[in-house]
């Protein structure tokens, strides 16, 4: 298999799963003829036809609501929201139905579906085309939230999400859709949902990130390495439920931790990770767990976007501060 981009990883997983299981259908605005606003679904309609690659009218609430009905009746729908910022008109369907159906029907009706949406800043858009609101979905019991950070992971995690019996919000880091390429296996690869991965080993501090913040965090780790600081880096991959085990095992060794996300600081995923570390291994920590995040504001216009996003410099600075304690 040639090297592919992250968005090609998404596309590949969709193609593979649609070929494997005829109950898998893709729906959304412009997913068919146009191949999706970011071209994630390109080529699908030619291969699987308009019955399975459904161009819908502009109606997010209707799209997700329909997907609920489809899932109730034996299909595995994969609705696309063009931007995560447009998903809020469907918020009630996700919160009230997608997330709770299995629970509400006391296990009689599962809700196998993957809601795909691109999120995040860094593409010179702004506000509702740039936001990172994974905490909304992570805060909702009954949903799983998966965020890939590389082409290979996008493919393997999306495959897993489609096979997964619970509903998954698949949050795609659009800023790195085409940022770099990676080799993927010819054989279909699947990664476990709910598992984090140590992507760089180190002994001085654990840096935890996901999605579009991964390349920046790894860059910070390289900057620190030049100074003799060995940072361990964890890619969460699944934001909810958290892989507490992997995080705790690492931080226990390093004694220090730093969480990075571009979502706003307050009530963000970092707050939850810090709370868990405090609950579980407070007395093993050498320093308070730090976080580098977006600010508590809507993502600003492009002129100030890079200022808003955690940069490798900001991440490395914060790591150095933590190491001083």
């Amino acid at each position: 298999m040639p090297e592919i981009t992250l968005i090609e990883g998404v596309n590949l997983a969709l193609k593979e799963k649609m070929a494997e299981n005829e109950n898998v259908v893709v729906l959304g605005q412009d997913v068919g003829l146009d191949g999706g606003i970011f071209r994630a679904t390109i080529g699908l309609i030619e291969e699987f036809g308009a019955d399975r690659v459904i161009d819908t009218p502009l109606a997010e609430a209707g799209i997700i609501g329909m997907a609920v009905g489809m899932a109730m009746n034996g299909l595995i729908p994969i609705p696309e929201m063009q931007f995560s910022g447009f998903s809020y008109t469907a918020f009630h369907q996700i919160e009230n139905h997608v997330a709770r159906y299995h629970w509400r029907t006391r296990g009689q009706i599962p809700m196998p579906m993957v809601i795909r949406m691109p999120y995040g800043a860094g593409v010179r858009a702004f506000e509702l085309h740039s936001e990172s609101r994974e905490a909304y979905w992570a805060h909702t019991p009954g949903l799983k939230v998966v965020i890939p950070s590389t082409p290979r992971k996008a493919r393997a995690l999306l495959r897993a999400a489609i096979e997964h019996p619970d509903p998954v919000v698949f949050y795609e880091p659009k800023a790195i859709y085409r940022a770099f390429r990676e080799n993927v296996s010819d054989e279909p690869e699947t990664m476990e949902i709910g598992k984090a991965e140590v992507v760089r080993e180190g002994r001085h501090i654990t840096m935890i990130a996901y999605g579009a913040m991964m390349p920046r965090t790894l860059e910070a780790a390289r900057m620190l390495a030049d100074e003799g600081i060995e940072a361990e880096v964890i890619d969460l991959m699944t934001v909810s439920p958290l892989d507490e085990e992997t995080i705790i095992e690492s931080v226990r060794r390093t004694g220090r931790a730093l969480v990075v996300h571009e979502a706003p600081r307050s009530f963000g995923p970092a707050a939850e990770i810090i709370a868990r570390l405090n609950d579980k291994i407070f007395f093993e920590l050498e320093a308070p767990v730090a976080r580098v995040t977006g600010y508590d504001m809507p993502p600003p216009f492009f002129a100030r976007e890079q200022w808003f996003l955690p940069s490798p410099t900001r991440i490395a600075d914060e790591a150095r501060e933590t190491l001083k304690l």
């Binding site: 161009d55 819908t56 009218p57 502009l58 010179r124 858009a125 216009f301 100030r304 200022w307 808003f308």
Partner: protein
């Protein structure tokens, strides 16, 4: 908005008989409209039927309305009256439409130079819609629209400098460079945005109308959205409430035939979008949006209808966008010839220009406007390129209302 147009220099469209005035003034101005049918080709390209205006006028009024209904002709298959504009008014329309077009072209250039980020939705081809409605509205009326908003903001009275600087994300921009292309607001000019979420303006305009009625203002809310937006549920929730409370809102569907890459045909069961309000009690008009005289006449009558206290009305305006949906658009959804055809034969500015020449307005006078508009827009672009960016600490401001 007549006042606003005046402020921005279009004195020609000022101080005319307006629908907003006393009922007699309304009738007087309605009389100014004639019923010239569109040329066949023109209407055909827009998917409209050419019908005889007199025959349409005999149609039964919408259900629930007493007979005889002075507004029955509004709901004919296609609205055919044309506003009889004075020379001055024509020059005013021309100037405003040209300002929009040149502004948008310039914005497209700045985007190409990397000075504008993200998305940029241009209104080129659709100018007659905004200008027709704006010129018919009164200074107390309000406008709310979607993300294709620069033209609306411009003729609402915002300076091109403030708008262009908003696009380039600079501090002196209309919203301090923090809103960008889709989120422009100027409540001083009764322009309420500028919304990135498709369909969202519908309930907002309904709420503006509610407040106007509640406060006893004689103000109409002009609520614009696209053909694609008509498939959003909140549009119908709005229609129902507007009828329920007889709210003074004109819903204007800017039907440019496409929602991003999806044509109306591929997204709509009921493709006659002006009929979309019928079962909820919102009567609908269908208007050729490439002819500013028709849009103006229709707008005037729609506004008069609302001021008569009958509740909301829906106006579907058939128009066309020449450019891609935003700046990157694979344009697989329409043949190139279609765009060329509309540009060549149905351009709203060209049509207006022809009419002006026919009416005896000299080339020289038209050229004078061309030059003035070019200069105004060039200056705006210069300003927007060189203005300062907002300071970082500006960004926290206004997230919450801070106590000083």
């Amino acid at each position: 908005m007549a006042k606003r147009a005046g402020k921005s220099g279009a004195r020609a469209t000022q101080a005319k008989t307006r629908a907003k005035k006393s009922p007699s003034a309304t009738r007087a101005s309605a009389r100014k409209t004639s019923s010239k049918p569109a040329s066949k080709g023109e209407a055909k390209a827009l998917g409209a039927k050419v019908t005889d205006a007199k025959a349409s006028a005999k149609k039964t009024p919408p259900p629930g309305h007493d007979h005889p209904d002075p507004y029955a002709h509004l709901f004919a298959d296609e609205y055919h009256r044309e506003y009889e504009a004075s020379h001055e008014e024509m020059l005013g329309f021309y100037r405003q439409m040209l300002r929009i077009r040149r502004f948008e072209e310039k914005a497209g250039q700045l985007y190409g130079m990397g000075l504008i980020g993200g998305f940029l939705h241009l209104y080129i081809g659709e100018e007659a819609v905004a200008v027709g409605f704006d010129s018919a509205a009164g200074p107390q009326d309000r406008v709310v629209t979607g993300y294709r908003c620069h033209g609306h903001a411009l003729i609402a009275g915002c300076s091109p400098k403030s708008l262009m600087a908003e696009l380039t994300g600079r501090a002196p921009g209309l919203c301090k460079g923090k809103g960008g292309s889709m989120h422009m607001f100027a409540p001083d000019h009764r322009f309420y945005g500028g919304h990135g979420i498709v369909g969202a303006p519908a309930p907002l305009g309904t709420g503006l109308a509610f407040a106007a009625k509640y406060r006893g203002e004689d103000a109409v809310s002009l609520t614009f959205f696209g053909d694609g937006a008509t498939n959003q549920g909140q549009v119908y929730e709005s229609f129902n409430m507007a009828v329920l409370w007889k709210l003074p809102v004109v819903y204007v569907i800017e039907n440019n035939h496409y929602a991003m890459g999806t044509s109306v045909d591929r997204a709509s069961g009921q493709k006659d979008l002006h009929k979309r309000g019928e079962s909820l009690g919102v009567p609908g008009m269908l208007v050729d949006g490439m002819n500013v005289f028709k849009v103006r006449a229709a707008a005037e009558e729609a506004i008069a209808y609302i001021r008569s206290g009958r509740g909301p009305i829906l106006v579907e305006v058939k128009t066309y966008r020449y450019r891609g949906h935003s700046m990157s658009d694979p344009a697989k959804y329409r043949p190139r010839e279609e765009v060329q055809e509309v540009r060549a034969h149905h351009d709203p500015i060209e049509l207006l220009k022809e009419r002006m020449l026919d009416a005896g307005i000299g080339e020289a006078e038209i050229k004078k406007i061309d030059r003035a508009v070019k200069q105004e827009i060039d200056e705006a672009a210069d300003f927007a390129r060189h203005a300062a960016e907002p300071e970082p600490d500006e960004l926290y401001r206004d997230v919450l209302i801070e106590e000083a």
